[in-house]
């Protein structure tokens, strides 16, 4: 008689793998990458190569050193490297990209257990770290390359080591204007400029169009939970309108807050990381609304002109608490909750009666 091999369910497996998900994210990041090259030349691409290379190397080396299986095959280090590189201003020195990527992979991801165990989004946290280390460099933004001016796509390579070259025209980002003197943050900029990215800002964040194309792709491919960016962006718009209501320029603040700065990029690519975002509907709503609230509060009252990375870090840390809000298991009667409350009340009253009895006996 032939032998049957009995195994556990499931007997088949879906085609979706971590590698395929990461590949989708890489595809979704390409519009932003291409935009950063079109706007700022090849230097941001060079930074991205450094960042991705460092990230993959660090993950490989860490696994080797701790005698673990090589996990770089799942492409998540590449994704982290790309996202981090797109968070940087396009003219940072090369060491910023390397150190930040190493920090993201080694400290935020690998030291906490590798993929799926990070306590916060590695790219967002690395950005904060790099901002704290090199504050001057991380807040220096430049205008996009103007090819008609005799510049070429390699112009910004001179910044690889020396940031203080005079050929870059430092531009204030719209958010920096909001932070500074107030007044109209989009003086001289049209909404089209902000949408396409012809403004100062970080390499991947400036082109709202590119980020939205990527976000749409991720939504269609069902890689991200689209509730998170929608609620986050919606909440930010609402809170911006509330907190800037008494300036003369509410509409401009809302538009510039939406289309410049890291909001769209952070909402679609960083806040949606599976390991650090909640799943149940109530928890997701709280997550998104608080993200928006913290972003606007930091933008308005904090000393940095941008609040997205801090908001994402804070809410990532809060996520385990939010995950305790669990949906009702199918079949669990709602009556259970009433019973629990009744029992708790009876317990409390019994304890009170006991205490007063003891208290009376002690007189």
């Amino acid at each position: 008689m032939s032998k049957y091999i009995v195994s556990s369910s499931p007997h088949i497996s879906s085609k979706s793998t971590t590698q395929k998900l990461m590949l989708d994210v890489i595809i979704a990041l390409s519009p932003a990458t291409i935009a950063s090259v079109l706007l700022y030349g090849f230097y941001p691409l060079f930074l991205m190569v450094l960042s991705v290379g460092t990230a993959v190397f660090c993950e490989w080396a860490f696994n080797l050193a701790l005698k673990k299986q090589n996990s770089t095959r799942d492409l998540s280090a590449i994704v982290t490297g790309m996202i981090f590189a797109l968070c940087l201003p396009p003219v940072v020195p090369f060491y910023v990209a390397i150190v930040g990527a190493a920090f993201a992979i080694i400290i935020v991801k690998m030291l906490f257990g590798g993929i799926g165990r990070n306590f916060a989004n590695p790219a967002a946290t690395a950005r904060i770290f790099v901002m704290l280390c090199w504050a001057g460099v991380m807040t220096k933004f430049v205008a996009p390359i103007d090819l008609s001016n005799g510049a070429n796509l390699f112009s910004y390579f001179t910044h690889a080591v020396n940031i203080n070259l005079p050929d870059a025209i430092t531009t204030a980002t719209p958010l920096a204007v909001i932070k500074g003197a107030g007044g109209n943050p989009v003086e001289g900029l049209s909404a089209l400029d902000m949408f396409l990215g012809r403004i100062g800002g970080s390499a991947g964040e400036v082109s709202a169009l590119a980020v939205l194309i990527g976000g749409l792709y991720l939504t269609i491919r069902r890689v991200i939970d689209v509730r998170i960016p929608v609620i986050y962006i919606g909440a930010t718009v609402v809170f911006t309108a509330i907190f800037y209501a008494n300036t003369g320029y509410v509409g401009e603040y809302v538009w510039s807050g939406l289309l410049s700065g890291g909001l769209l990029f952070g909402a679609f690519f960083m806040a949606t990381d599976y390991a650090t975002s909640p799943k149940s509907t109530v928890a997701v709503v709280i997550y998104g609304v608080l993200l928006g609230f913290i972003t606007v509060i930091i933008r308005k009252f904090g000393s940095y002109p941008e609040g997205v990375s801090f908001a994402i870090l804070l809410m990532n840390i809060v996520t385990p608490l939010l995950e305790k809000i669990r949906p009702r298991v199918f079949g669990q009667p709602k009556k259970d909750f009433v019973l629990i409350i009744k029992n708790k009340r009876a317990e409390r009253e019994a304890k009170k009666a006991l205490k007063s009895a003891e208290g009376g006996a002690n007189d």
Binding site: S8, S9, P10, H11, I12, S13, S14, S16, T17, T18, K20, L21, I115, G116, E323, R326, P327, R328, V329, F330, G331, Q332
Partner: protein
Amino acid sequence: MNLLPKDVDRYILSGDYDEVAKLGVMNCIECGVCSYTCPAKRPLVQSMRLAKKEIRARGNK
């Protein structure tokens, strides 16, 4: 439905049997859809089975 295999897996792997009891694990019929969909191909069905065994051993509390 609305069982949370990912949470059960996490609690089981860290040995937190008290929290697991709150997740309604006894409703699991071991259909395997959780492991089927998982992109990381984690053995979630096996974790659920272990959780059920632990709960039964502790008297179905």
